[in-house]
């Protein structure tokens, strides 16, 4: 793999570091250069912090290469893209050969009181021993350069700087409105207390007066709690509540002051305000970065600058024009080629090639560990994700599900281990057993990624993953928990990511699974069959050997292992007795063994998995509201009466059924209400009601791509190769994100 620039970057930074990388990637592509990324994890974040969504979208939009873990790229320039990454706690799984290697320094080494932000003691030896290069530092600004000189790194400094860039097209020029009072003065930053001045200073630069309204995007609650009462003219917004460009459009003046401990290495937020054409008022030291494009004042003198700007439309217009042209001319995307050439220098012959390192890379292994649920939910979701990962990885299932044959029959290598419940074993004893079994399998299969689907990561599981230590570990768990599960939540720390498949009834989710929202990534609902993959009605009926002309009712009331559905079944039989034109079809998995105690001459039994492709065969359905059935029936626009399984150990199926009925997607009733069941079954007879339900479901478009979104996320996180079926525009190509 040949690249021009390789970024070794942590894709989880929430603010300027990720935004500047985003625009670097865009600029690099426009300059006709090829960029690649090796994702790494900075020790400054919790292990399972979610990836920056805007950056992921830019990676996809620019076609930036995520270097597969088992490849060794060659590049003209390799950038270790944050000073906290040159640290012996950071794991580099992928090697590379680079003509030039530099550490981009986005932050001074310490705060104004001398507290170190990151470790610098091993920089020299780590650069030499791990990367085979002398230490070369690329500051993002002259402020950082001065700090590095002051602290003994003058010898390692590159002559150039790796200046942050911006695309002014993303920030429409702010139109100057009539300068009536109050003037709207605003600021934005991630909600870090260091980004805020002490309360008495804040009251000086953002004063409580009818002349100004202060809009603030991104303020921590801890900081706000320091005020006895907040000034009435402060309007606070969460950092992620709106796009930054939209927020900036609502301001007249931008004003940014911060804690006296903090030094702003660059001030990406200021660059965004300048790009939007906002006059900016800043502390004096930032003049080193933004020159005469801004106004500089002590915090207490800032209101006088606001007054001066607010009193002169011509001054405001002049400042706005200057701001935008400064941003474009100094930090526009066209600056990339210049800074790249300055740092990368002339193309060289390759300096350091590791013998034997460029052979055919082995295909990475993904191990899927699924717990043992009542139904096939865990297994079904993972099969959907395995399909979306595609043939460029080898997927091995390691499951506690007795239905593991389903994965095997779909072409996957599938291992099974018995679960403690069936064996009636002590949980601690079983965990010891599971640790040994999984650890052995991890050593043998050597996966680079382990996916766990279940509500509680077992002690044996996390111990085995920790002991193995060579995989990215991802916990995939559906939401809609019935009760808080603190014992489960604390185990998030063992995973590199926690992903929650989407719920269409999210509005009714009590949020017990999202106690730490920064650590949970969410995607669209995960289903095995997307609407465009459904068989037509006739083909589906033929495939299931069902009559082509009859009115068919799908029945899926679950295994009933933990919930009594006998009343709905009894009423369904009465319903069939009264309506001879209807044939009911009870569909089970191919592994189901059992006598069919339900006997009716118009109740047919079929065994099929996955059922999703065949849903168009049916005119309506009567089903429990499990995750997969609920979302697959809605995706297929199948009119359904959902009768939730209300077992206290299961997810809140009642919420799905209720939310769907309120939204007009389905009918719903409880399993213990014979009168309501009768009424709702009667409604399903009405073709107009069925058409209406189906039409409402069909309006839910563009939200069935969860498995493919997860696969794309995993490819970035664990450096997996792309799925050729997705990239070649094949049948299963996903929607753009």
């Amino acid at each position: 793999m040949e690249l021009d620039v390789l970024y070794l970057a942590d894709l989880r930074f929430p603010g300027g570091t990720s935004t500047s990388l985003k625009y670097d990637l865009r600029a690099c592509k426009r300059a006709g250069l090829r960029a690649g990324i090796i994702p790494v994890s900075s020790p400054v974040f919790a292990r399972n912090r979610v990836l920056n969504r805007a950056l992921l979208e830019e990676i996809k939009a620019t076609g930036t290469v995520i270097v597969p873990q088992n490849e060794r790229p060659r590049t003209r320039l390799a950038l270790l893209y944050h000073p906290s990454l040159l640290d012996n706690r950071v794991l580099f799984r992928t090697g590379f050969d680079a003509d030039v290697f530099c550490l981009v320094v986005h932050q001074p080494t310490r705060d104004r009181r001398g507290r170190l932000y990151y470790r610098t003691g091993n920089w020299q030896s780590l650069a030499a021993d791990w990367f085979g290069h002398d230490l070369r530092l690329l500051p993002v600004s002259s402020i950082v350069r001065s700090d590095l000189v002051q602290h003994g790194f003058a010898h390692a400094l590159h002559d150039g700087e790796w200046t942050n860039l911006i695309d002014p097209d993303d920030f429409p020029q702010k139109q100057i409105r009539s300068l009536k009072r109050p003037l709207i003065v605003g600021r934005h930053s991630r909600a870090d207390p260091e980004k805020w001045p002490a309360p008495q200073v804040a009251l000086a630069c953002y004063p409580e007066t009818p002349d100004f309204e202060h809009r603030m995007l991104g303020v921590s609650q801890d900081y706000l709690d320091e005020f006895e009462t907040l000034p009435w003219n402060w309007k606070i917004f969460p950092f992620t509540s709106q796009p930054v460009s939209d927020f900036l459009q609502g301001l007249d003046i931008y004003s940014y002051y911060h804690s006296d401990r903090w030094t702003e290495a660059f001030g990406y937020n200021v660059l965004e305000a300048l790009a939007a054409g906002l006059p900016c008022v800043l502390p004096h030291y930032m003049e080193e970065t933004f020159s005469d494009a801004c106004f500089y004042a002590e915090p207490s003198a800032a209101p006088q600058v606001y007054e001066r700007l607010g009193g002169s439309r011509s001054l405001m217009e002049k400042a706005s024009g200057k701001a935008r042209s400064f941003a474009a001319s100094h930090f526009g995307l066209d600056q990339f080629a210049r800074k790249f050439e300055q740092v990368a220098g002339v193309r060289k012959t390759r300096s350091r090639v590791v013998p034997g390192s460029h052979g055919t890379p082995s295909t990475p292994v993904v191990m899927v560990v699924t717990s043992n649920g009542i139904g096939l939910g865990h297994l079904s979701r993972q099969l959907a994700i395995a399909g979306a990962l595609g043939p460029a990885v080898k997927v091995v299932f390691f499951s506690l599900s007795e239905a593991i044959e389903i994965a095997r029959s779909m072409g996957y290598l599938a291992e099974f281990r018995p679960f403690h419940r069936r064996l009636e074993l002590d949980v601690d004893a079983w965990n010891g057993y599971f640790f040994q079994e999984l650890r052995e399998a991890l050593g043998h299969y050597r996966p680079s990624l382990v996916l766990f689907d279940g509500n509680l990561p077992y002690v044996g599981l996390v111990d085995a993953l920790e002991s193995y230590g060579k995989s990215h570990n991802v916990w995939i768990r559906r939401g809609l928990w019935r009760t808080p599960q603190p014992e489960s939540i604390v185990r998030e720390v063992y995973f590199d990511a926690v992903i929650e498949p989407g719920e269409l009834c999210e509005a009714l989710d009590l949020g017990y699974s999202k106690v730490t929202p920064d650590s949970v990534a969410t995607v669209d609902p995960v289903i095995m069959t997307r609407p465009q993959e459904l068989f037509g009605r006739q083909a589906a009926r033929r495939a299931l050997d069902l009559p082509e002309e009859a009115t068919l009712c799908l029945v899926q009331l679950g295994s009933e292992a933990n919930f009594d559905m006998s009343l709905p079944r009894e009423l369904l039989f009465d319903f069939l007795d009264r309506h001879p034109e209807i044939i009911a079809v009870d569909v089970r998995s191919p592994l189901h063994i059992g006598e069919h105690s339900d006997v009716h001459d118009r109740l047919l039994f079929r065994k099929v998995f996955p059922l999703g492709k065949h849903l168009k065969a049916f005119d309506f359905a009567v089903c429990a509201a499990g995750y997969n059935t609920f979302h697959e029936n809605l995706a297929a626009a199948l009119p359904t009466l959902f009768i939730p399984n209300s077992n206290p150990e299961s997810d809140v199926q009642e919420s799905r059924a209720l939310h769907g009925s309120l939204a007009g997607w389905n009918l719903a009733c409880t399993a213990d209400d014979p009168y309501e069941i009768e009424t709702q079954l009667g409604q399903l007879l009405d073709p107009d009601i069925r058409r209406m339900l189906s039409a409402e479901c069909a309006r839910k478009t563009g939200c069935w791509d969860g498995a493919w979104q997860i696969a794309r996320f995993l490819r970035v996180l664990a450096q997996l190769p792309a799925n050729p079926l997705e990239d070649c525009g094949g049948k299963r190509k996903g929607k753009p994100e």
Binding site: A414, L591, I593
Partner: protein, 146 residues
């Protein structure tokens, strides 16, 4: 009558085993205390194919009904039937699946260790093999995978 006598024989053998071992299986991790004091049979049926278990396996299971715990190592498609009959089950990856998957660092070592652990974890008093012995299964798989 022959079946009955066979069962009588097994019962006698089991009684002797219990007297000798005192039902003690300290390493049988997958058995509850109660099951450890009972008898355990392990059936290796590694090359079962078709929709249902073979007549031979079914006949063995019938004979082994005097054991408190019966564990069958077989392909996973037979799990539902075994569960319904009240038995426990384990599985080893099939040779064809191993070859197709192109995964794994050392199948011979992995399967040998797995077989040892299955025996340890269940502590069987009696083993029955229908089809290949586990050791020859491993040998064949390793040959094909290498």
């Amino acid at each position: 009558m022959r079946q009955y006598l066979h069962r009588l024989g097994l019962r006698y053998a089991l009684r002797s085993l219990r007297a000798l071992k005192g039902g003690n299986k300290p390493n049988a991790t997958l058995l509850t205390e109660q099951r450890r004091s009972g008898s355990v049979a392990l059936v290796w049926a590694l090359d079962q194919s078709g929709e249902t278990l073979s007549e031979e396996v079914l006949a063995q299971l019938e004979k082994l009904s005097v054991f408190e715990t019966v564990v069958v190592v077989c392909p996973p498609r037979f799990f539902p039937a075994l569960r319904r009959a009240g038995h426990f089950f384990e599985t080893l990856p099939a040779a064809a699946d191993i070859l197709k998957s192109e995964t794994g660092s050392n199948w011979n070592l992995y399967l040998r260790r797995r077989v040892v652990r299955i025996r340890e974890n269940w502590g069987p008093d009696f083993e029955v093999v229908v089809g290949p012995e586990p050791e020859s299964f491993i040998h064949d798989v390793s040959d094909q995978a290498s």
